[in-house]
């Protein structure tokens, strides 16, 4: 029955370990069977050696989390092999949308007033003010073209690299990831300078000139990161 011209599984040794190219046109069952077979053949060679990391390249095949788990288990069962990465060209629509949501810049033109909460998953570009009592939350960075007088929470899913920038920075509270900072109790002069807030080396939120941001967060400089 099995009259394959080309094997479904191709192994390549690199300096990073083993790269397995898995064919993406055969059935999953065939693939698993052949993988198991090939790995079993090679099993005896230096089985006491150090762990070898395996990179899987699965082309245009989509693996469900369950299948992925199965593959990892299969390879891990071969003593000194461990799956380091699984590289697929495809992802589900859901994942793609989630990814898009987390990386896009959402621009909103409104005034976030007292009692209102504006929540976006990616970066937020707010064209307007945040008034005292208002809250803006973003999974990524927050850029405010107007005045920030309320609460801003950037990197709300745990991104400590996130920044908050505003034309007028007079927040009641700043939060980045799980770090929090509040306005001083004394009144400060309203500066006519755009400012940004970020987490510095000591793990504190600091507010500084906007221009410093290019040095502090080089990833903001140009193209959108992936």
């Amino acid at each position: 029955m099995k009259k394959q011209k080309q094997p479904y599984v191709t192994m390549k040794g690199t300096k990073d370990g083993l790269t397995l190219h898995l064919d993406d046109t055969c059935s999953y069952e065939d693939l698993i069977a052949e993988l198991d077979e090939k790995l079993t053949i090679n099993e005896n060679e230096d089985s006491d050696g150090p762990l070898v990391s395996v990179h899987l390249k699965i082309g245009n095949r989509y693996l469900t989390p369950k299948q992925e788990e199965e593959l990892r288990a299969l390879i891990r069962a071969k003593k000194n092999l461990v799956v380091e990465s699984i590289d697929s060209n495809v992802m589900t629509k859901e994942e793609a949308l989630k990814w898009k949501q987390k990386t896009e810049i959402v621009s909103v033109a409104k005034i976030v007033r007292s009692g209102q909460v504006l929540h976006v998953h990616g970066d937020l570009l707010l064209i307007g003010d945040v008034n005292p009592g208002g809250t803006v939350i973003a999974g990524g960075n927050i850029f405010i073209l107007g005045a920030l007088r309320g609460i801003a929470h950037a990197g709300c899913y745990g991104n400590k690299e996130a920044v908050i920038a505003a034309s007028i920075m007079k927040p009641t509270q700043l939060r980045i990831s799980d770090v929090m900072n509040r306005a001083p109790d004394y009144k400060t002069e309203e500066r006519n300078e755009m400012e940004c807030a970020y987490i510095d080396d000591t793990g504190q939120i600091v507010v500084d000139r906007l221009q410093l941001l290019t040095h502090l967060r080089p990833n903001l400089r140009g193209e959108r990161r992936l």
């Binding site: 007033r113 009692g115 008034n131």
Partner: protein, 267 residues
């Protein structure tokens, strides 16, 4: 078909009822047919400020529940022949006695007969507020130059912006004490307007005569010499679409002020 304007503030005690009474009176003085509606069920005040308390027979709840017609419940203000009417709130029930749907119908009915229906909103953002806003086409937000009042005004504006049937709210800043603004102890007008970023409809200086007048059941607008009276008349004219410059607040500039006074006194 008239227009319904809700007068609201969020915070209590900033002068919603006084503003409603005076704007209503000022509009009636300008020849419009006006109906005032008090939606502060359980804590009604508008009738007292207007001096109409002793004429109430039926109230808002009676109308909403169909115990009487709107026309029967309306209290006529005899000072302005057939121009000014009041629909009083009930004192014995609470805010839940009326639903927003009922208010919408009621205000819609009143709009047929009157040029302006002014709705006095209770403090807060609960049921009473929802009732008051349900039938409105426009909104006036009253605030005072205090941080807490401005904060609540901001909240209310946010809620009003969500109501699609209400036009962009406009702002009235009440009880301004010019000497305190000058010394920096009170928020100044530009700061408030910039902060809330809505159109300013008018400013009213703090005036003891307002309290005196409302205790007597006579809106201050009826006294043409008072500062606050002029301010309310100006706001009424702005509601009618006239462009009237903002009043000077400074006490020192008596010259300009007395000129203004004279100008309005002649009218």
């Amino acid at each position: 078909m008239g227009e319904a304007i809700v007068i609201t503030s969020g915070k209590g005690g900033v002068g919603k009822t006084t503003t409603t009474a005076n704007l209503g009176t000022a509009l009636a003085l300008l020849g419009k047919r006006v109906c005032l509606v008090d939606t502060d069920i359980g804590l009604r005040n508008l009738d007292v400020v207007m001096g109409l308390e002793n004429r109430i027979i039926y109230d808002l709840v009676d109308v909403a529940e169909g115990r009487c017609t709107v026309q029967k419940a309306l209290v006529k203000d005899k000072r302005f022949d057939d121009k000014l009417y009041l629909l009083p709130a009930a004192q014995t029930s609470d805010k839940t006695a009326v639903t927003p749907e009922q208010m919408k119908l009621l205000v819609g009915e009143l709009k047929q007969d009157y040029d302006y229906v002014l709705i006095d909103c209770p403090a807060g953002i609960e049921q009473g507020y929802k009732n008051a806003v349900a039938g409105a086409d426009q909104a006036i937000v009253v605030t005072t130059p205090e941080v807490s009042a401005v904060r609540d005004a901001d909240r209310i504006i946010g809620l009003l912006e969500k109501e699609e049937h209400v036009k962009r709210p406009r702002l009235v800043i009440n009880r301004i004490r010019s000497h305190m603004v000058k010394s920096g102890d009170m928020l100044d007008i530009d700061e408030i307007v910039m902060h809330l970023s809505i159109d300013l409809l008018g400013i009213i200086a703090d005036d003891e005569n307002v309290i005196k007048a409302s205790n007597n059941g006579e809106p201050i607008v009826l006294d043409p010499t008072s500062k606050a009276s002029i301010a309310y008349r100006n706001i009424a004219r702005r509601i009618l679409g006239e462009s009237v410059p903002l009043q000077q607040l400074e006490d020192e500039q008596k010259g300009v002020f007395s000129k203004l006074k004279k100008f309005f006194g002649v009218r």
